[in-house]
């Protein structure tokens, strides 16, 4: 699949933003007055909104994006839009009350957390629902998106808030998230298009005669389908990118968390861990798209 930069940035940034919002809704301790409450709310809301705005860049008609809120009965993309807007609205009220009165409304906070989790889940289901991409169609996909959102959100929260022991929790959440991703990668390695039961033989229905091979594409040039779904260039550096994702997304953040915990460094140093993880997740998300094999490639001779 074509790794669109806008969608990669959207899923990573929104994931971290909603992860932070989830933790704030649950009452993640943040000291200081209204200014601090404003800063941390702006970080969560800003990342979530920036991601959502980026996601409209890949639309052919962004001015009609409001229509995407109408089909929640059948469409995960529609549900995602509704969940995101509802969550951000509730979070806005939560943050305003917090800044105004200094009190954090518990029930409203729980609703915000529920909404944030639902938003990340619906984002993941946009991909996990697609039977045409066997590597994506698994419960592990929402598990990975949720655990990455939680881990990157925690790193941001621990840098901006006043949790007593952000280090051990942060390390545990980062490791949990990459364990999920590792399981996802192992499954994806075994669930390539060729393993899914679909083949040029089933795609053409000609398997009863013999082995099927594409002789000629419909046109000599590329088309929307080959650019969007038979995108193979992005896989060229897959091994290096996977190493980069693990180094920046897992090893470096854990190392920074250990150092800050041992040296009693000020909490904002954890921001480095958060930024490193987000950079690693950009590489991870690139591979999520670039390595995915779509069924339509069976009609075009390569995966």
């Amino acid at each position: 699949m074509h790794p669109a930069i806008s969608v990669i940035f959207f899923t990573v940034a929104s994931g971290a933003g909603f992860g932070l919002i989830f933790l704030l809704g649950l009452g993640f301790p943040v000291g200081g007055g209204a200014g601090r409450a404003f800063a941390v709310s702006l970080a969560g809301g800003g990342l979530a909104v920036a991601g959502l705005i980026a996601s409209t860049f890949h639309l052919g008609h962004p001015e009609r994006a409001w229509r995407a809120l109408s089909q929640w009965r059948s469409s995960w993309l529609s549900r995602e839009g509704i969940a995101a807007i509802a969550t951000l609205g509730l979070f806005g009220i939560y943050a305003l009350v917090w800044m105004w009165s200094g009190s954090r409304l518990q029930i409203l906070g729980l609703l915000v957390s529920l909404g944030a989790a639902a938003t990340v889940f619906t984002t993941a289901m946009i991909y996990a629902q697609l039977r045409t991409v066997p590597q994506w169609k698994t419960r592990l996909t929402p598990a990975v998106y949720l655990s990455f959102a939680l881990a990157s959100g925690w790193l941001l929260a621990s840098a901006l808030g006043n949790h007593a022991a952000p280090g051990p929790w942060g390390i545990a959440l980062v490791i949990l998230a990459w364990a999920m991703k590792w399981a996802w990668w192992v499954r994806a390695g075994r669930t390539r298009l060729a393993d899914s039961g679909s083949s040029p033989e089933t795609a053409t229905g000609l398997g009863f005669i013999g082995k099927v091979r594409l002789l000629e594409r419909p046109h000599s040039g590329e088309n929307y389908l080959t650019r969007e779904m038979v995108h193979v260039i992005g896989r060229k550096h897959a091994r290096k990118l996977r190493g980069l994702a693990l180094a920046l997304g897992a090893v470096l953040p854990v190392a920074i968390l250990i150092i800050t915990a041992l040296t009693n460094a000020p909490a904002p140093v954890n921001l480095l861990a958060a930024l490193s993880m987000l950079a690693g997740l950009l590489a991870e998300r690139w591979l999520f798209f670039a390595e995915a094999e779509h069924a339509v490639s069976l009609y075009y001779g390569n995966r």
């Binding site: 962004p62 229509r67 109408s70 469409s75 993309l77 629902q129 229905g205 419909p218 040039g221 339509v296």
Partner: protein, 252 residues
């Protein structure tokens, strides 16, 4: 509404005969022509006469080589357009309601001015039936020529999809699959019509008729090369040529 209708009154669709298709691309060309002139917006091309032409097509003709065990390979031309699936995943994923399946005839359509061009429907389709228009930035797909089949101004014989109308080898047939006596239902029953990628659970309406089995090349007599024994003798020339012919024969 992007929820699918439980049933449709009629199930209009195509039967494509892989035995008779000659791969001439006439159906794709006529599809492009009709849908560039008669729809909400043209079916666009970019750099059509340049070095890197690209554009949206609703029907594309692939060509496959099929190799049976212990026999020579055969070539199968393979036209592919929207299959108007009963369980169309492209419809349910649409967030705006632009993509829909009609309950009266089962045709899957896109309402262009509601489409946001997110491309998710094309991702959901295993057949590559949907293509983003590079100029209009909305999703385009086969309409089963909904503007021809219900037309009251076109001549009766033209009220079929453009691809069916133009096919010179009668490889394409149009009709109602809900009617067991329709031409398409009869063809599917007689020739064992098949679904593409049934494992995707899309329940396509369009059916493909598989190529008829080849006769064994070893036992076949080739009418183009009659056996030498059957060749008639060269007629004997007369006069001087006859004498020359006989004299040369005697020389051995």
């Amino acid at each position: 509404m992007t929820s699918l209708p439980a049933t449709t009154e009629r199930r209009l669709g195509l039967v494509i005969d892989l035995d008779t298709c000659v791969g001439c691309h006439a159906c794709a060309v006529n599809c492009k022509e009709w849908n560039s002139g008669a729809q909400d917006s043209p079916l666009s091309d970019v750099d059509a006469y340049g070095a890197d032409p690209s554009g949206a097509w609703l029907n594309r003709i692939h060509t496959f080589e099929v190799t049976p065990e212990g026999a020579p390979a055969q070539i199968v031309h393979f036209p592919k357009s929207c299959l108007h699936c009963d369980d169309a995943p492209c419809v349910t994923v649409c967030p705006t309601g632009a993509s829909h399946k009609r309950s009266e005839d089962g045709i899957v359509l896109v309402t262009e001015d509601m489409c946001i061009g997110c491309g998710l429907c094309a991702w959901a389709c295993p057949y590559g039936a949907r293509e983003m228009d590079p100029v209009e930035n909305v999703m385009k797909k086969c309409t089963l020529c909904v503007d021809r089949i219900y037309s009251e101004t076109l001549a009766e014989e033209d009220r079929i999809p453009a691809c069916v109308r133009t096919c010179p080898s009668s490889a394409r047939h149009f009709g109602d699959f809900n009617d067991p006596t329709s031409n398409v239902s009869v063809l599917v029953a007689a020739r064992g019509g098949i679904d593409l990628m049934p494992e995707m659970g899309t329940k396509p309406v369009n059916k493909y008729l598989p190529p008829r089995p080849k006769t064994n090349a070893a036992t076949r007599t080739d009418p183009a090369r009659p056996a030498a024994a059957c060749q008639p003798d060269t007629p004997r020339p007369e006069g001087f040529l006859g004498w020359l012919d006989a004299a040369l024969d005697r020389l051995g």
